[in-house]
């Protein structure tokens, strides 16, 4: 098993700690001039989302977590299970609604997503940054109103609702930013 020493420490490092995988999301190097170098780190548990504060001294090391990222297509949802298939191996992976979290709002069949595997088990997924969704229902828009500062809720084909500008109509395709849930633009068929 690979180890990271303090000189490898940086944001984004995935490590194994007390039996769980963690991501280092903050790492501050502090050192009194003639004294011991310390690394003040914040780590998030990749399974539970809990946060740990840990201080390490120069020369300490942490075990690397067996973390892999793969690309997989979303196949279908079966109650609380979301089924994905790895693009290259056709291996299927199931994620729970809890693991998919808010990303269900963007998931359409065939969409290629990033899935994080820990010891070969999926633990989280990320949809593409931008997705195109079809508006299934919204209040009718005022003709000719192209203002983008007035928004209305639009229900899309994944079942989720997003605020879109007033000129968006039922049947339109809209591009949404999955990191913020924000409307970007209307898309032609």
């Amino acid at each position: 098993m690979a180890n990271y020493s303090t000189s490898d420490f940086r944001k984004g490092l995935k490590v194994q700690l007390d039996g769980d995988p963690y991501i280092m999301f903050e790492c501050n190097f502090v050192k009194p001039g003639k004294g011991q170098a310390l690394y003040k780190c914040k780590l998030r548990n990749l399974l539970r989302g809990t946060v740990l504060d840990r201080t390490y001294k120069s020369g300490d090391s942490l075990e690397a977590a067996e973390i892999e990222e793969i690309q997989a297509q979303f196949l279908y949802r079966q109650q609380n299970q979301f089924v994905f298939m790895e693009n290259e191996t056709y291996e299927q992976y199931e994620l729970s609604a809890e693991q998919v979290d808010d990303a269900w709002k963007y998931l359409k069949e065939g969409m290629s997503c990033d899935i994080v595997l820990y010891n070969n088990h999926p633990i989280s997924m990320t949809p593409p940054n931008h997705v195109v969704l079809r508006v299934e229902y919204c209040e009718p828009g005022a003709k000719g109103n192209t203002a983008t500062n007035v928004s209305k809720p639009c229900k899309v084909d994944t079942g989720a609702e997003f605020p879109c500008p007033a000129f968006v109509n039922i049947g339109d395709l809209v591009r949404i930013d999955t990191r913020t849930g924000a409307y970007i633009e209307r898309v032609k068929e």
């Binding site: 303090t6 000189s7 501050n28 190097f29 502090v30 050192k31 009194p32 001039g33 003639k34 004294g35 011991q36 170098a37 310390l38 504060d53 840990r54 201080t55 390490y56 001294k57 120069s58 020369g59 300490d60």
Partner: protein, 376 residues
């Protein structure tokens, strides 16, 4: 995300900060020039290096041209160009041996060494040794704006290569040394005269214990009481390690906000190259300057006794080995300079990049240097 792949040729500092940096460098030189200091330059690459428990020098293994005769060295004929690191010298040529590195060849007549030690030159962690050699030769007051190198120091306040301003004033004691450091700080940053606080006062005020007399149990209890999570590998008997932890977590964050703070009389165990005053308990005649929680300068009333230095060197190397670090050569030309007689003096080193950071209101050292480590 910035498109780092195409844009990382650019300086990380903006031009207003780089102009400020140049202006401060000019004012700093004026400060020392007007006080009769002589600006000097000394080697960055040297056969000697300062031995500190927590400072790790970079080194180069490129075979140097002859260094001449010196302690532990053998003159060699110049290596032909093209012989690089790891290439064996042939003929009568020997690798210049740097003292402390090869026990095998010292004291014996030159026997063919099957695995000649790769010669090493050290990138200086500070210009201290060379400047003291100048002092021993009668230099008088000197200063230097030096590039120095320290391995594994990378963070918002650290870059492995940085600019250190170092000065020596023969005849000065701790009090005068602090006075000049405070004046320089006031001239450069205009944050008022520095206030003085002893290391003990600071610990009493912010931690509630006497750092000179508290035992390890009291220190670990204070760490726990403050809610600090100590490194799991911090040895219980490493008293200075516990003091450093409290210093970083509980003392330093308070220092130098209203006015710059000169912290003085460090624990004797943290004397480094400062002389120890035989008070009860003894304290190191060492001080540091803090501005807005940032450690800016470190000064010593310099140790003059070569035997004491040798003792500290071997003690420090023993600690390095215990820490899992390689020992550093203990023989060096500073010892020769001290044996010939070093004048009593104060020496101070100040982090110039941090000084610019404070003037610019920067939060990261990359904002005041053109090309930090990851773009160098």
């Amino acid at each position: 995300m910035t498109n780092s792949s195409t844009d990382d040729f650019r300086p990380t500092a903006n031009w207003s900060n780089l102009r400020l940096r140049a202006d401060m460098l000019r004012r700093l030189r004026e400060f020392f020039d007007s006080r009769g200091f002589l600006e000097v330059e000394t080697p960055i690459l040297s056969a000697d290096t300062v031995i500190d428990r927590h400072l790790d020098p970079f080194y180069t293994a490129i075979p140097p041209f002859p260094l001449g005769e010196g302690p532990g060295r053998t003159a060699i004929s110049p290596l032909p160009l093209g012989e690089g690191p790891g290439v064996r010298a042939n003929g009568s040529g020997q690798w210049p041996v740097i003292s402390g590195q090869s026990e095998a060849t010292s004291g014996k007549s030159p026997a063919p060494d099957p695995q000649p030690p790769v010669p090493r030159l050290w990138l200086q962690t500070s210009p201290e040794f060379h400047m003291k050699r100048m002092l021993a030769d009668g230099a008088g007051a000197i200063y230097q704006v030096a590039r120095v190198f320290r391995q594994d120091e990378l963070g918002p306040l650290h870059n492995p290569e940085f600019t250190l301003v170092e000065w020596y004033q023969p005849g000065d004691g701790l009090d005068e040394g602090m006075k000049l450091t405070g004046e320089l700080c006031e001239a450069m940053l205009e944050r008022g005269p520095a206030e003085r606080m002893s290391y003990r006062e600071a610990f009493e005020r912010y931690v509630g214990l006497d750092p000179h007399t508290a035992d390890v149990a009291a220190l670990t209890a204070a760490v726990e009481k403050c809610g600090i999570q100590p490194p799991a590998t911090l040895a219980r008997e490493d008293r200075d390690g516990w003091l450093d932890l409290l210093m970083v977590e509980r003392v330093q964050p308070h220092l130098g906000f209203e006015r710059p703070v000169l912290l003085f009389d460090y624990p004797a165990s943290q004397a480094a190259l400062a002389r120890v005053r035989p008070d009860d308990p003894p304290v190191a005649e060492r001080f540091e300057l803090f501005v807005a929680g940032v450690e800016l300068a470190n000064g010593y009333h310099e140790l003059l006794d070569p035997d004491e230095l040798r003792m500290r060197n071997s003690r420090t190397n023993a600690q390095r080995v215990a820490d899992g670090k390689p020992p550093l050569p203990e023989e060096n030309r500073l010892l020769a300079a001290m044996r010939s007689g070093l004048p009593s003096s104060v020496g101070v080193a100040l982090g110039f990049d941090r000084l610019v950071m404070l003037a610019a209101g920067a939060n990261n050292i990359a904002e005041v240097m053109a090309f930090p480590f990851d773009r160098a």
